[in-house]
């Protein structure tokens, strides 16, 4: 829904990485692997 979209757009960047929650190796690897698929 538009609300959900807006919520995720506020919380996460277009690569799926959270703007506010600290990241770790596993999460960053996952973000990067998704970028591979997107690219």
């Amino acid at each position: 829904s538009p609300d959900t979209k807006e919520h995720f757009a506020r919380e996460y960047d277009c690569y799926g990485d959270s703007y506010t929650a600290d990241t770790d190796v596993a999460q960053l690897k996952e973000v990067f692997s998704r970028m591979k698929e997107n690219t």
Partner: protein, 216 residues
């Protein structure tokens, strides 16, 4: 001049050992020389290019195929044991020796070729030449083996070095990956902390503006 030396056992006397040296220039099919010796006597003869052609014609065999058969019979030597026979018949009076070579088949055999060999007047010289030829071949082969051995050791050493470098490269790649991720995380988390702080300030500013509006 190419030469080969082989041990042969005549069909008429399988216990007897003779040594057959065949020599030729470049191609056996262009003609070859034969020296036969029992270690005490020696006989010599030649087969010309024309004689080879005649033999091939006589047995209605393609010349190239005939020459291949000659190679297998006279040069390859012991490996062909059983596929070829040799017949030696000595005529001491006339100082000759009849030498023939046959091809064995399942259903019989046929003579590949034959020639009269003439007795050599100084067999000791021939024997010395045969042993000398062997020693020279042995020397060359030994030297070649030593070269190959050294080459093998060098190749093994090179392979071993490259294997180690490959191991190091794999390790370095893994270390690089881990190192970059840890740095990226530090930098990203700094930015996220900044974002959390700015969001907090923005919320506070919005709340303050709302409170002011209410108060008015």
């Amino acid at each position: 001049m190419e030469k080969t030396l082989n041990r042969i056992h005549p069909v008429s006397d399988p216990e007897a050992t003779y040594f057959l040296q065949v020599s030729w220039e470049k191609d056996l099919g262009a003609g070859f020389g034969i020296i036969l010796s029992d270690g005490q006597c020696a006989w010599t003869g030649t087969v010309s290019e024309a004689e080879i052609s005649r033999e091939a014609d006589d047995m209605e065999m393609n010349r190239e195929k005939y020459v291949e058969e000659l190679k297998k019979a006279l040069i390859t030597g012991e490996e062909s044991a059983g596929r070829y026979n040799f017949a030696i018949s000595r005529d001491e009076e006339n100082r000759e020796c009849h030498f023939s070579y046959e091809r064995n088949l399942k259903d019989g055999s046929f003579t590949l070729g034959s020639l009269k060999l003439q007795k050599v007047s100084s067999p000791a010289e021939v024997v010395r030449e045969l042993i000398g030829y062997c020693l020279d071949c042995l020397g060359r082969l030994q030297a070649k083996n030593e070269l190959l051995q050294k080459e093998n050791e060098r190749l093994f050493s090179d392979w071993s070095d490259v294997e180690k470098r490959l191991e190091k490269c794999v390790e370095a790649k893994e270390e690089l990956e881990a190192d970059l991720y840890s740095r990226f995380i530090l930098v990203l988390n700094e930015k996220k902390a900044k974002i959390r702080n700015l969001q907090k300030l923005l919320n506070e500013a919005k709340e303050s503006a709302a409170d002011d509006k209410c108060a008015r």
